[in-house]
């Protein structure tokens, strides 16, 4: 698998406080990588490191195969765009001039594609309006527009839905999906709005106290969070025989517990199990969401 970004045991300290503690993550090419963690977990710090705003205390990362200590890492950075925390825009400039300024910073010979970018983010009609008169959502979109100048292959968005109204959140989500699907842009998106992230992400990285607790694809997460009935029985071998006969998906967890992935007729199942001399001790419907999975992963009690 091709990776856009790989970090290796990254550490970062602010005075005596360790913000990142040996964080290793892998962002596959073409993915929308959801970077999940509570406030202060180290999400923004990691983004600052990979954007070159800060230097790691130890560890390293590779961006498009180039190590952060390589001199030509700047070549890899040319291929990325980012919105870190708040959109980086000149408030006393119009949307159009903000984009032109970024064209100059990149040294692009002409302003070709400027109108297309403004159209893409839905700011074409307000191109002559000063950014200070923009709503938060419009500023966020302008920030993304600036990050898109120069046709980057990798977009880093730090909490893009922060402070947006529901309509704004939907607009940003659709924009990210459009960029990923139509332009094959790899997106690293940090958020603690899990429900929102679950509508976008193809891969997840869960961060807590500066460490990556778990990294998985959306498919793996879906399997973990699949709706099921957790059954406690006296003999799971007998349960397996019965479920195989009924052609029902299941996972044996222990000698006495198993997850059954179907809405079963309880009377039929218990009757069939009785024939196999297997008792049903308990049954519990489980519907694990991304949220509950995250809480179980990070430790809800500790963070409550």
């Amino acid at each position: 698998m091709d990776y856009v970004l790989r970090t290796n045991a990254l550490c970062k300290k602010y005075k005596d406080f360790k913000v990142l503690n040996g964080l290793s993550m892998n962002v596959p090419k073409g993915a929308i990588y959801g970077f999940v963690g509570k406030n202060g977990a180290g999400k923004t710090t990691l983004i600052r490191l990979i954007c070159g705003l800060q230097e790691p205390a130890s560890g390293d990362y590779t961006l498009y195969g180039r190590k952060n200590t390589d001199k030509d890492i700047t070549q890899s950075r040319r291929r990325m765009g980012a919105v870190v925390e708040t959109p980086s825009i000149y408030l006393d400039m119009t949307a159009e001039n903000n984009l032109k300024q970024q064209y100059r910073i990149l040294g692009l010979p002409s302003f070709d594609g400027l109108t297309e970018i403004l159209k893409l983010v839905g700011l074409d009609n307000t191109r002559k309006k000063k950014a200070k008169n923009f709503s938060l959502g419009m500023r966020q979109r302008l920030g993304i527009a600036i990050a898109l100048v120069g046709n980057p292959d990798f977009l880093v968005l730090d909490e893009p839905a922060n402070g947006l109204d529901p309509q704004g959140i939907i607009e940003i989500r659709e924009l990210i999906l459009k960029l990923n699907r139509e332009q094959q842009i790899t997106v690293l998106i940090s958020s603690h709005i899990l429900d929102e992230l679950s509508k976008l992400a193809t891969h997840y990285g869960f961060i807590d106290s500066g460490c990556l607790v778990k990294e998985m694809s959306a498919k793996e997460l879906e399997a973990v969070c699949r709706k099921c009935v957790r059954m406690e029985v006296s003999d799971t071998r007998a349960l397996a025989r019965v479920l195989d006969g009924m052609k029902i998906d299941y996972t044996i967890i222990t000698d006495q517990t198993a997850d059954v992935y179907a809405k079963v007729n309880i009377s039929h199942l218990t009757a069939a199990l009785a024939k196999e001399n297997c008792e049903v001790i308990s049954m519990q419907e489980r519907d694990e969401s991304l949220e509950s999975y995250y809480v179980s992963l990070i430790g809800g009690g500790k963070n409550a």
Binding site: L53, Q54, A82, E85, Y90, I105
Partner: protein, 276 residues
């Protein structure tokens, strides 16, 4: 670097603070020179004066204008977060620092030029310069060099302090503090070696015998004062104001040293700075 300069200059030409500073410098010079002309006519000294009597009086205020402009211009990069856009796309912190320095030097030199052009309004009354062409060029060269030193100091503050309000406050207070400090030194050097008071005797008021002035700075301390005045850009400004340039080479070398020191140390700190 060229890309960063192109971006900085394109912003400079639209920057309100820059044009306000330019306009203020121009109006200030015209009003100041016309007032100087009026005074010279009242004193009937216009025939003794040359244009240079007031022409270099920008030297004391240019540092404040440099501090005001640079702190507002580059403070915005931090307050709006736009400095991040430059780093994210791969520009090095060294390039960003040097591009900022070049922008500050250019803007401050343009402000100085605005004064120098505006000050020509005094030619009909005071005539042209009485100093030689070589002296005039030397004064202008020293002015250009201390503008670069001021720019070095201001860029250092702008790039190493990341809060706009602090940048403005520190830049202005630093230049003002240097100005007050050098004025005190200059005042110390201006003290007469001896003083004589007035005595009231039976014969009426008489001048007392001259006695040593306790405030007179002598010996090694006088040399130190003298050196500091030549070293600091505000001191050089004072010397230029008074048309008392004695060590031009020392002044030029000092400006180069200040600019190089602030730039090297500034880049060192800026590279280590955790930008947000």
């Amino acid at each position: 670097m060229r890309k960063l300069l192109s971006a900085n200059f394109s912003r400079l030409w639209r920057d309100k603070i820059f044009w306000i500073c330019m306009g203020t410098m121009l109006i200030y010079s015209v009003v100041y020179m016309l007032n100087g002309c009026r005074q010279a006519v009242v004193d009937m000294s216009e025939y003794n004066y040359g244009l240079e009597e007031y022409y270099f009086h920008f030297a004391l205020s240019i540092g404040m204008f440099c501090a005001l402009f640079s702190s507002m211009f580059f403070g915005t990069e931090y307050s709006d977060g736009t400095i991040r856009n430059k780093i994210i796309v791969g520009h090095t912190k060294t390039d960003i620092y040097i591009a900022s320095l070049i922008t500050t030097v250019t803007a401050t030199l343009l402000m100085m030029l605005a004064w120098l052009i505006g000050a020509l309004v005094a030619i009909p009354t005071l005539g042209v310069w009485k100093m030689t062409v070589l002296e005039l060029f030397l004064y202008l060269l020293i002015a250009v060099m201390f503008v670069m030193a001021f720019s070095g100091i201001c860029t250092f503050v702008c790039m190493t302090v990341t809060n706009k309000a602090y940048i403005v406050m520190i830049s202005m207070l630093l230049i003002l503090g240097l100005l007050i400090f050098t004025s005190m030194l200059y005042n110390g050097l201006s003290q007469p070696e001896t003083i004589s008071g007035v005595q009231i005797t039976l014969n009426g008021m008489e001048m007392s015998k001259p006695s040593a002035n306790p405030n007179y700075v002598s010996g090694a301390m006088r040399k130190v004062y003298d050196f500091i005045l030549d070293f600091l850009p505000t001191g050089q400004g004072l010397r230029m104001w008074q048309l008392e340039i004695v060590h031009p080479v020392r002044m030029i070398i000092s400006s180069v040293i200040i600019m190089l020191l602030t730039t090297f140390y500034g880049i060192f700190i800026f590279k280590k700075k955790n930008l947000r």
